[in-house]
Amino acid sequence: MTDKIRVVIAKPGLDGHDRGAKVIARALRDAGMEVIYTGLRQTPEQIVATALQEDADAVGISILSGAHHFYFEKVISLLKEKGAEDIIVFGGGVIPDEDVPDLIAMGAGAVFGPGTSTGTTIDWLKKAVAKDE
């Protein structure tokens, strides 16, 4: 058996719409992963500290406020600063298609827009973590 996959699901910023975060957290749980759920209004510093303390394989960021550039950049650069660039960053929420390439260029592994099936995210995450090992 391999080690259990551990994922932090975080909601940065001020928007309070956590339905998507909860749906994905539940789906990852049902896929056998351990999901560390941080709750709302997290700062990038809190998200990164959580990922480090929890020995997370990946951090999933849910954003519906439009501030995705800022938060992805901040989380990814803080992880680098801590020597933790091996932790995969992915995201979802209301993120326009045309913004996705920018986020990938920053170092995000994948961005899943509205309507993505949870199965797609699970498959991608399992492969991404396996490749990382």
Partner: protein, 313 residues
Amino acid sequence: MSVLSSKILNGDVRGIARAISIMENKTNRTGVSEAEELMKEIYPHTGNAWIIGITGSPGSGKSTLTDKLIEQFRTEGKKVGVIAVDPSSPFSGGAILADRIRMQRHSDDPEVYIRSLGARGALGGVSNGTRETSLILDASGKDIIIIETVGVGQSEIDIMRIADTVCVVLVPGLGDEIQIMKAGIMEIADVFVVNKADRDGADKVARETRAMLDLLKNKDWIPPVVLTIAEDGSGLPELVSKIDSHKKFMHDTEAGIERIERRLNSEVENLLLSRLVVRAWQLWGENKSNRIKDMLELKTNPYAIVDEIIKNI
């Protein structure tokens, strides 16, 4: 000393995080030796932290109490480690670990380390790696370690084998005084916390708990009953002071030494058991199909086979 052990002793967050994962996953691995070597190296550096267990039913306010306890200990300048255990799914093995939601304001405090663990099938209120996790945090220099168990019912009492001070959290509205008289979790408390004390019936729960304590045979330590409202922090300074009194009691009396002896005993028993199981399974596996065939032909029987395996361990 291994690189990982030095990282733990230096308080390196990623090193601590990695070491805890190794303990959590040790039963998954064919060789348990990496985990065991690590524990041997760090063990001499443990014994400095005071380990507080917080246990009680789901929704009784354990996480919020833990959050407020972190705050209290931080104002005293103490370094705090938190281990928060949540249940794992019996179907998928996955888990939602969400205790830290209530503690997130401490997550970027460098002197606070919070780790969420899935129970992973363990039924005693903590996971199989919880003891090792507390030792790792102890060796990393934490002064206080708070272990929040899974939300428990009546008989999940493994926390008493790990914690120095066990706080059992009660809330009003969960039953009559007969519940309070029952065996199990009500017997392991060093401190009783009646949380949500602003609700109707809190005084009654406190009164009935105290009445039950009057019947204690051993009066060396009578667990205090503290009323708290974790949400607004009411009663928290009193709770900390009762935990301190219990710590003094443990230091100044035989009881403390007995507790440590009991813990060491169960630590050895647990280790023995897990090693023996691994070894026994291995021996059984070696010649399984032939032995099953022999049993089918009544040439041998399960009892004789077990005798043979035990002899070879």
